[in-house]
Assembly symmetry: C2
Homo-oligomer: 109 residues x 2
Amino acid sequence: MSHPLDAAFSALADPTRRAILTMLLEDDMAVSDVAEPFDMSLAAISKHLGILSRAGLITQEQRGRVKWCKLEPDALRDASIWMQSFGQFEAVNLDAFERFLASELSDDR
Amino acid sequence: MSHPLDAAFSALADPTRRAILTMLLEDDMAVSDVAEPFDMSLAAISKHLGILSRAGLITQEQRGRVKWCKLEPDALRDASIWMQSFGQFEAVNLDAFERFLASELSDDR
DNA sequence: CGCATATTCAACCATTCGGTTGAGGTACGC
DNA sequence: GCGTACCTCAACCGAATGGTTGAATATGCG
C-alpha cells in the first residue's frame, strides 16, 4: 500500500471507520469513548483507529493515560481533490447534498 | 459490503483501479485496451473492471465481441459528497489541486 | 503501595483480495 | 465453417482484513 491515496481510500471503505470519523467531527474523543457505541471489542476499535491514524485521517495524542483522537482533514482533502479531478459533476449541488446526508443519517449504526 | 460507499471507496483504494478510471476519463475503452498498459493478466483487469462496475464507478456495454467501458461519475459524486461533509477544508484550492495533479501524474502506478 | 482504568499487544481465526493459469463461450473475418 | 480475437469463468494461491480473546503495559487514585 504505497500511495497515500491507497491508505486514505481503503480506510474510508469501512463503515465503522466512517462512523468514527463522523463522531470525531463533533469533537475530539478518547479511545474508549469512541468504542462505546459500537458492538465490538475495544481492541478492534483500537485497530480501526490505528488504520485511520496511519492513513493520516486522524491524529492521536496521549495525555495522561487517555489517548485523544482528533480529526485530521488534510488526507481527506487530498482524497477529495483526487475525486474532483473527475470534475464531470458540477460543484456540489446543495440540494443533493442535503438529501444525501438525510439518507446517510437514517442508516443503521 | 452493504453500503454503496463501502464499494465505492474500496474500489478507489486500489491504484490499478484509480489508474483505469483516469484512463477512462480520456475516452471510453474496450477491455483489452484498458489492459494493455498494465503488467498484469487480462483476467486480472477483467476482475478490476467488474469491481469498478459493481461499485457503479463505470458501466460496461457489450457491442459485438468487444465490451466498452465508460466512466460513470454518479457513484464518484456520492463519495465526493460524503467527503464534503467534512467541510472543514475550504472549497478546493486550485493551486494545491494543480500541485497535487502534477505529483499524481509523475507517479508510476 | 495496591488497585482500577485506559489502551495496546500477540496469537489466532475465517473471509476477502489481488493475482495467476487454463479452459471455455461468442462474435467476426476470410 | 474455421480459426482467431475478445472476454469471462473456475480453481487455486499467498497475503491482507476484520474480528476475537487473554495477557501485558502504563498511568492515575486513595
